[in-house]
Symmetry: C3
Subunit: 284 residues, 3 copies
């Protein structure tokens, strides 16, 4: 990977999110609904978990972006997800697919693959999930990740080629990938804290936050794919900074979760410039 | 609004709640179930989230009061809500309707209007929701409120006339309204903290707490509508005091939520007398 | 009850749990999903809340143990529970039944009795629930317990005879019972803190933790029923120690819940040896 002078303007994305308070429709699993909503609120966005099949499409038309996370999806939520994805596809509205446990169980895997075929703006998962969705891994044991980020970068690039969008891999050092022609744009984001995998729903909440940043990024304008990639990087940087801050104050995973929400909320826009973000390109 | 010497005996309501530990059946959205239950427990009530359509009516017969909040209602919860409302209507048991996102999406709006037609003891919502339910507003963008409390007071009064019960509007300075003949009884409750809208489900949990206070108030006896109004004021005062206390200790929305539950639990009954409550009447 | 020299090796069970990170499939109520998952993570296990009827059986085949808690079960979760129980029965995999509110409402009671008839490895409930499931009590008012642990010990023993497994009763001094022939093995676990009943889902999360300890205990080998009993005792001891630790730091139920997760996570294996556990046998 060759490094490049181009760095996304993360503070501007954060400031735009604060100013616009994007409305995020989160069709997400019931384990993490509360935490995801609190993460969105703390970061400056407006969450709405409208997931009834009869209302999902209409609300998708109003929302600034949509999260699809089928972690505990019952049939009504699956119908709602289909409806919301259709609206996103038709309108070009940004949406994120979080492929929780893809490859682990068959029915869910089918549903997640169908969603991925609709070309999500961003796919965000852990290494096992990205590998499984790209057709290159076993899918792990559920929500934990057994593959490392580095090992799945080729799979992430392949997946990004397929969807035409951004692919983000969460791990010790996150990767955010987008492919334009014969070149992959790759960001690696460090920071965070070792307690993060000890709190349920950190990845799921990050997926929700990516939606909010995508909406903010679209409002800033500019080239579509590069902008979506930059917005995804900003969400990861915001998360990593808050994680590091919370880790410095926490006594364990309980107080970490509390301090994390506080830190997400308190972070000044300017601080995003000091995130541990390395960007570069790779010829394919 | 002319002020009046009549002030509800808030400490007595709080003490009665502690002594009786009313059983609250909360048919509520999955985002806020945990927080609502913890708020009820902290305040001295006993929560039960029994929402299966086959059990809802039977449990409604046992519960001391019922909360209906269709924020993420799937079809089985809608059936459970119908059943519980029927029992409440037949038995005269107190119940609260929280019209989350009414007016924002069509199917939900129909369902909430049907529930409102069953004459809830209390309707509690934010300004946008009360306006929409009264037929006077656009419904906001989900759970946040875009109308101010003052602006929707006429709508709240109109809605109270329609339901024959209490209408509560949450905002910077809450309003609790009841109409008897040609006169509206209005309480305004101040306090709370600016972080409250940054925690998901504060309004939803307040709706649950109103149920507990209604049950306590009924146990105290007295004139029905005035008692329900006083109980609703007490719930709002308890919430506002705990919010102010938590705000003084919090570093952000994460620690605010934790401190809020602590403060709800610690509040002595006598402290309710020092809540910022202004009561008065308005001729219609 | 005669006391005996036999004491389960609680530190070894804790250490084994840490080393193996058992995968727990929790089909549990939506009120407590987040907290249960965080408790499992803090204690060293890996939670997965896969509860779709089409995926539940397949995932049960992968999981190290299964929790069935029908506290808010809709029909799809009931189907998932049936499927997972079938897999557990066929494979001999450990599973825990948490009979939330059995006896309180009719439909749920039928479903829980059906699950209990499949002979769960462990039934864990409060005194009212154990009494109701054993056919000896009224079932309380929901999730709180109106019977005392001592009073329901005979019912717990009877239930253990019926299921052939372990029965655990949560209360001020928990009881864990298993019956072999004409002798009941009984452990009583003290500790914990008075704030525990003020946090929703403590019992539900304990049920989830029992699954993790059962899986760890099976990995240690030894006689099946005695091992399952010892593992159940270890889960209760871990919980009680963390509760006491959290209680010493908490200002109320909000900060208690946070400190409890921290304490669960921080507890060294060796500390389990200092839990307040009394074991003995009773001739039947």
């Amino acid at each position: 990977m060759s490094t490049t002078a181009f760095t996304p303007d993360l503070p501007a994305l954060h400031a735009r999110l604060q100013a616009s308070a994007p409305l995020v429709q989160a069709i997400t699993n019931t384990v993490v609904q509360q935490f995801s909503a609190n993460v969105l609120l703390a970061a400056g966005a407006a969450p709405a978990m409208i997931d009834h099949e009869a209302d999902a499409a209409q609300f998708a038309g109003v929302a600034d972006g949509i999260l699809i996370n089928l972690g505990t999806a019952s049939n009504h939520q699956l119908l709602a997800a289909d409806a919301a994805i259709s609206v996103a596809s038709e309108t070009g509205k940004p949406w994120v697919l979080d492929p929780v446990s893809v490859g682990v169980v068959a029915f869910r895997t089918i549903k997640i693959r169908q969603a991925a075929a609709a070309r999500p703006t961003v796919v965000r998962g852990n290494a096992s999930e990205i590998a499984a969705l790209a057709g290159a891994g076993a899918g792990g044991r559920g929500v934990d990740s057994t593959d490392e980020v580095d090992a799945v970068l080729p799979a992430a690039i392949r997946l990004a080629q397929t969807t035409g969008g951004v692919v983000a891999v969460s791990g010790a050092r996150d990767a955010v990938v987008a492919v334009e022609g014969a070149q992959a744009r790759i960001a690696r984001i460090g920071g965070g804290h070792a307690l993060m995998p000890k709190v349920v729903g950190m990845g799921c909440a990050l997926g929700a936050l990516v939606v909010a940043y995508l909406a903010a990024g679209r409002a800033l304008g500019g080239e579509r794919l590069a902008g979506d990639w930059a917005a995804t990087v900003a969400a990861h940087a915001h998360f990593a900074l808050a994680g590091a801050e919370a880790g410095a104050r926490a006594l364990g995973p309980g107080s970490f979760q509390v301090a994390f929400v506080d830190a997400l909320h308190a972070l000044p826009s300017a601080d995003l410039a000091r995130a541990d973000v390395q960007v570069g390109t790779r010829a394919l």
